[in-house]
Symmetry: D4
C-alpha cells in the first residue's frame, strides 16, 4: 500500500451496508476519484457511486469505467450494477425546484441500496394543496425522505399528515438568514413531530441510504 498511501477503500462496507463505499467527491482530485472508483469496482459487486462531483471527475472515471453514468443535476456518478440487497418503497419529496439536486442524490442512492423510489417534487407548503393532492401516493410508501431549504417546514407538515418515518434533508437553498441551510436544519431538528430525524445539510446520500436501510427486506 505504500506506493499509493492516499486511500485504502473500505471493502468491507458492502457486506456491512449492502452498498459499496460511496465516494464523496469534495476535496478529492479527479485522478484520485478515478483510482478509487476503479478499485471499488473490482472489490465489490454492487453499484458504485460518487457524490457531489464534477464533469472533470466523470471524464477521469470514464477512462477506468466506461460504463459510468453521470447525473448532472444530482452531481452524481454511478456505475450501473444491480443492488446487492432489496429494500422497500421510499417516497422522496422536495419542496422546490432548487431542492432537486439533493433530492435526486437521495433517490439515486436509495435505488442503489435496493429501494424503489417514488419522486414527489415541488410540494412546498406555500401552496399546501399541492401536497394534500399527493398524500395518497405518499401514504403508500414505507419511509420518506423529505428535502427542503429555506424555512424547512415541509417535513413537519408531512409529519402532521402521516405516521411514516421521515428522514429530513435540509438544503443550502435560500439566501440571507437561510445561513447556507442552517435555518432549514434547525427547523427540522426542532420539529414538533417525533417522526422526523435529520441529516447534514445537502446530504441526500445519507438520507437515501438510511431510508433504504430501515426498509431493507430479508432475502
Amino acid at each position: 500500500m505504500s506506493d499509493r498511501p492516499f486511500a485504502q477503500p473500505d471493502f468491507e462496507r458492502e457486506a456491512r451496508w449492502g452498498l459499496p463505499e460511496v465516494v464523496l467527491g469534495i476535496g478529492k482530485t479527479a485522478a484520485q476519484i478515478a483510482e478509487i472508483v476503479g478499485r471499488l469496482r473490482d472489490a465489490n459487486s454492487g453499484p458504485v457511486l460518487v457524490t457531489k462531483t464534477t464533469q472533470s471527475a466523470y471524464d477521469a472515471v470514464l477512462a477506468v469505467a466506461p460504463e459510468a453514468e453521470f447525473f448532472v443535476d444530482a452531481k452524481l456518478i454511478r456505475l450501473p450494477r444491480p443492488p446487492v440487497v432489496s429494500a422497500g418503497t421510499i417516497g422522496v419529496l422536495a419542496a422546490g425546484t432548487a431542492d432537486l439536486p439533493v433530492a435526486e442524490e437521495a433517490a439515486l442512492t436509495a435505488e442503489a441500496a435496493g429501494a424503489s423510489v417514488e419522486r414527489i417534487y415541488d410540494v412546498g407548503v406555500a401552496g399546501l394543496h399541492r401536497l394534500l393532492d399527493r398524500m395518497d401516493r405518499i401514504r403508500l410508501c414505507e419511509a420518506l425522505v423529505v428535502v427542503a431549504g429555506m424555512e424547512g417546514a415541509l417535513p413537519t407538515v408531512v409529519g402532521g399528515l402521516t405516521g411514516l418515518p421521515i428522514v429530513a434533508v435540509p438544503t443550502s437553498v435560500g439566501y440571507g438568514t437561510s445561513l447556507g441551510g442552517v435555518a432549514a436544519l434547525l427547523g427540522m431538528l426542532n420539529s414538533c413531530t417525533p417522526q422526523v430525524v435529520a441529516v447534514n445539510i445537502d446530504n441526500g446520500f445519507g438520507a437515501g441510504f438510511f431510508a433504504a436501510l430501515i426498509t431493507r427486506k430479508l432475502a
Copy 2:
C-alpha cells in the same frame, strides 16, 4: 427633570401611535416602573401597559394606580382605559400551550391599540387538522399574529392557506437547538410565503401593536 434624570417618558407617542408609551419591564426596578406608569397615566388618556414584568412591580404600581390589573400568564400590567383609536379584527394564533404568554401579550396589546381579537390557540402543525378546523374563523380576520416556538412552521403553513398579512412571533419555547427562539425566528424569516414578516423573539407586544396599526380605522 434634573431630580429624576433616569426617565423622560415620551408623551408624544400616544399621538403618533394611538397608544401611550409602553413600558418594557426588563432591566427596570419596581420603583422605576411605578413612577413611569404614574407619569404616563397623567399625561395620556389611553390604556397604559407594562410588559415582561413581575408581581413585585405590580405591587409597586398598585400604590400609584390602584386600578391596575395584572395578567400573570402574560406578565403584563394594564391600566384599563378605553383605547384612543379603533382598529380591525386580529386573529392571534398560538402553536402550543407554552406559547400562550407571548400570545396573550400580543392579544392584550392589540386590544389596547383598539383592535378586536380572536384567540385561536393550540393549533400547532403536528396535528394539522386542528388548524384546518379553525380556518373559517381565521379567514374572518383582517390580519393575523401567529406565535410559535420550536421549528416555527405555523406562520408558513397558515400563509399557505390564506392570503392575510401575518406578523410572526417566534417564542423562546423549546430546548437544545431551539437556541432560545432563534430556530423559530429563522424559520419565519425564511418562510417561503411573502405574507409573513417577523418581530423579535417573544415580542408579543410589537406584533400585537403592528397588527392593530395596519388595520386601524379612520375615525
Copy 3:
C-alpha cells in the same frame, strides 16, 4: 405532470395574493426559469416576476415571453401586465447607494401588487438632515419599506419620526461584522419602536409585497 416533474407552479396564488407566484431565481437553471415563467404567464393575468436572477435567465425568458423586461440593478425580470388588485402609496426608503438593488426589488414588487411607490433614496442616518428634509414626502405614504445595510438604524430613526407601519429590509451591504446583513437584521429586530417588522436579508420582494398587501384597496 410526470414528464416535467421539477415544478408545479401554484396557480392559486394570484387569487390568494393578488399577484401570480413570483419566481426566485436562485438555484434554478435558466431553462427551468423560462419554462416556469411561460406557464405562469398562461395561467395568470397579472405581472409575472423573477427575482434575484441573471442576464442568461433573461435571455431564456425572452424566448418564451418576448415582452419581458430586465431590471439589471434590481436583478429582476418582469412581464409588464397591469396589476389585478389596487393598493395604496408605499414609500421605499434606502439608506445608501449600495442598498438600491434591494430597494428596487421592493419597489417593483409593490407596483406589481398594485401600489404606487414613492422612492426616497440615500437618506442614511450619517447625514440626518437628508432624511429630515424628506419627512414631508414620507408622511404622505400609507406604509413604508425601509432598506438599510451596515448597522440598520434607519427604520428605527424613521419610526421615531412618524407613526407609519414600517417593513424593514436588512441588506447584505457592508463588510466585516456586518456578517452579510445579520448585523442590520438584528438592529431591526431589536428596534426600540414597535412599528417595525422585519423580513429576510435582501428580501426586497417580501417587503414590497407585504407593504402593498396591508394597503390593499377593496374594489
Copy 4:
C-alpha cells in the same frame, strides 16, 4: 372548548403514531400538565408520557391519575398501560454516566411505543474496549439509539462496527465549547458513516419513538 382554550390535545395521534400524544413538560404549569394528562388518559388506551418534567408536575398529575409513575432521573412521568403496537428490539447506548437521563427518556419512550430495549451504558470511546466487549449484545438489536455528549463520537464509532440504523442523540453534557450540546450534534450530523441520523439535543423522546417506529411489527 372555549372554557379551556389553552390546549386541544391531538387525540388522533395514537392512531397515527401507535402512541398517545406525549406531553413536553417545558413551559407548561403543573396544573396545565395535569389537565392535559387527564384528557389524554380518557381519550387514548396506550401509555401516556410527560417528558422533561418535575416533581411538582408529578404531584399535580397524581391527583388526576393516581397510577402515574415518576422516573426521577429521566424526568419522565408515565401512566403505565400496555403499548398499543408492537416493535422490535432497540439498543440504547450511552457514552457516560451524565448521559443517562436522556438515555432513559429514550428507553422508556421506546418501550411505551412497543419496543424491547437493551440498555448498554457507559461505553464512551475514551475506553474503547468497553464498547468492543458489548458488540455481541449490540448486534442482536434491530436499531440503535446512541446517546452522547461532549464530542459525540460514539455513534460514528458504533457505525464503524455494525451495519444497524443509528439514531444519534446529542446531550447537553459538557462545558465550555460543548456549547450546550451543539458540539456533539455537529459531530453526529457530520458523521462519516451514513447509518447515522440525528435528533435535537437531549431529545431522547424523539429518538426512542423513531427507533421503535422503524422496527414496528405488523399485527
Copy 5:
C-alpha cells in the same frame, strides 16, 4: 509575594494611566477584592475603583477602607480621593432607563480619571425629539460616551448630528435577538459614521476611561 500569590497589583498603572489599577469584581471573592483594594490604596494616591461588584464585597472593603462608597445602581465601589490628572468635559448619554447602571459606571470612571461629566439620560431614538432637545448641551462636550442596548442606534444618530468623538458602549439590555448585547455591539461596529468606536458589552469602565484619556489636559 509567595504568601499571597493570587494577585500582584500593577502599581505602575497610576503613572501610565493617571488612574490606579481598577479592580474588576467578576470572578473574585469578597476577601480577594478587599485585600487588593487595601494594597492599591496604599500604593496609589488617586481614587480606587471596583467595578461590577456586590454588596458583600463592599462589606469586606469597608473593613479595610472605611471611607469606601458603594454606588448600588452602578455596582461600583469607590475610594473617594481626588483625581491625579485633569481631563475635559465628557457627555455620557444613555438610551433608556435600563442602560443607567452602565452609564453610571462610565460617568464615575471618567470623573475618577479627572473629567467633568454631563449626564444626558433617556434619550433613545424612539422619541427623537428628546435627543434633539438636548443637542445644545451635547455640543458643549469634548467627547461623548453613548450607552445603548437593543438595536444600539443611538451612537450613529448622535454621530449624524455632531462631529464629536463617540465611544459607544453596547449594553446587555434587551431580550431575544438582542443576544445579550451582541446586536447593539454589531450596530455600533457597523455604524455608518466614522466618529464611533466601540468597547465591550457593558464596559462602562473602559468607555469612561478612554473618553477621559482623549481629553486629558497637560498640567
Copy 6:
C-alpha cells in the same frame, strides 16, 4: 435630484468632520463612484477618498478627476488636496505583512484628516523584541492605530507598554477560526487594558479618522 436619485452626498460632512464624505467602494458601480467623486470634489475643498475600491473604479474616476491617485495595496483612491484641519502625530502599527492594506488605509485617511503618521510595521508579538525596539518611536505619538489579524493580541501588548489611546483594527487576515477577523475583534474588545477601543474588521478608514479626530488641533 430626481434625475439621479441614487445618491445625495452629504456635503455638510466636511464642516462636521474636517474631511469630505468618504466613499465606501463596496457595493457601488464604477460609474456611481465616479459621479459621487466628481460631486464631492466640487462641493468640498479637502482630499476626497474612495476606500475598498478597484482598478476599474479608478479608471472611471480618472475621467472626471485626472489628478486622482490610486494606492493599489490600500485599495484607496485619493484626490490629493491639502487637509482642511490640522491634527497630531498618529502611530500606525501593523502586526504582519498581510495587515498592510488596512494599515495603509488608516494611515492615508489620518493624513487626509490632517495628521502626521508614523508607520511602524511588522511588529507582531511572535517576535516581541521587534516591538520593544520600536517603543521609543511609538511613545512620541499622541494616539495609536494598531492593526492586527489572527489572535489580535498586539493592541493589548502595546497597551501594557504605554499609556496612549489605542484604536484597534482587527483584520480579516488568517484562516480557520480567525473567522474572517472575528477572532481578532473579540481579542480587542476583551482586551484587559482600557486604553483600547475597537472598530469594525478591516475598517482602517474609521480608525485613521478617529485617531486624527482625537488629536485635532485648534486653528
Copy 7:
C-alpha cells in the same frame, strides 16, 4: 455489572495514562461520584481526582474515602496517593486572579500525573513588566500551561519570549463578548506562534495532564 449499570469505570487508564480515570463532576449526582471514586480507589494505586465538583459531592466521597481532600478554589477532590509515574517541571501561568481555579485544577492534575509545578500567577499582559520579571523562573520549566480569560493574549506573548511548548487554557472569565471563554479560545487557536496548542475552555485538567505527559520520565 447489571446491578449498577450507570458506570463502568475504565480501570485500564492508569496503565495507559499513568493516572487513574479522572471523574468529571458535572452531570453526576453526589452518590454516583462517591461510588465511582470508591471503585477507582480499589482498582488503582495512583491519586484519584474528581474535577469541577461540589462540597456535597465531597461529603459523599468522605463516607467512602475519609482521606479525601477538597480544594475549594479548584473545585477538585483528591485522594492523596503518590503518582505512579514521574514527569518534569511544569510552569503553570495565570493571567488574573479570576483564572486561579482553572490554574489550580491544572497544577493539581499535573502533580498527580507526576510533575513538579511552578505556579506563576497574576502575570496578565496589561502590566507586562510583571511577566518579564518572572521569565527567569519560566525558562527553567520543561513545558508550560498558560491560563487566561478575556482576550487570551498571554500564551502568545509568552510564546514570543521563550521556545517552550505551551498548552493554552482559555477560561470563561470575562463578560459580554468574552462569550464564556470563546474569545480567549479563538485568541489561542489563532496565535501567531506555533508553540501554542489549546484545550477546551476551563479544561485545567486536560492541560495539566497533557503537560505532564509530554515531560514524562522513563523509569
Copy 8:
C-alpha cells in the same frame, strides 16, 4: 529598514524554535514572499518553509532560491536544508483522502523541525478495522498528529487505543454543518480523552512543529 518597511523577519526564531521563521503565504503577494524567503535564507541555516502558498509564489521564489521545492498537494514551498535540531518519531494520521494536504503540511514541517515521520493515511473511523490494523506502527511513535475533517472523531478514537500525546488538527473538509472545520474542531476540543490538544483548522504547520518540539532530542 525604511526602504522596505513591509516585513522585518524574525531572525531569532531559529535559535528559539530550532526552525527559521515560517512564512504563511495567505495575504502576501508573490513578490513579498520571495523577498522574505531570500532574507530568511541568508539569515538562517535550517530549512525555510512557505505554507498555504501557490504556484505563482513558487515561481517568484525560484528566482531568488533556485533550489526551492514545491509540494503541490501540501501547498508548501521548501528550501531543502538539513534541520538544525533533532527530534523523535512522529506519527501523522489522516482520516480521509481529502485531509492529505493538511497532513502533508504537518509531516513536512515536522521533518524540517528534525523529526522522523510515519505517515498513516486513510484510517477514518467509518471503517475502524483500517485503524486497528495500523496500531502496531502507531504505538512505535513518540507523539501523534491526527488530522481529520467532518466529525473529527479520529483523535478521540486513537486516544482510546493508546497513551501517546495527540495534536489534533481539524480540517475544513466537509460540507453543510461541517462549518468549514468548526464541527471537527469542536469535536476535538470536547474529546473525552485528555491526551488530545488542538490547533487551528487546517493548521498542519502548527501541529507538525509542536509534535516535533515535544520530542526534541538534546544534542
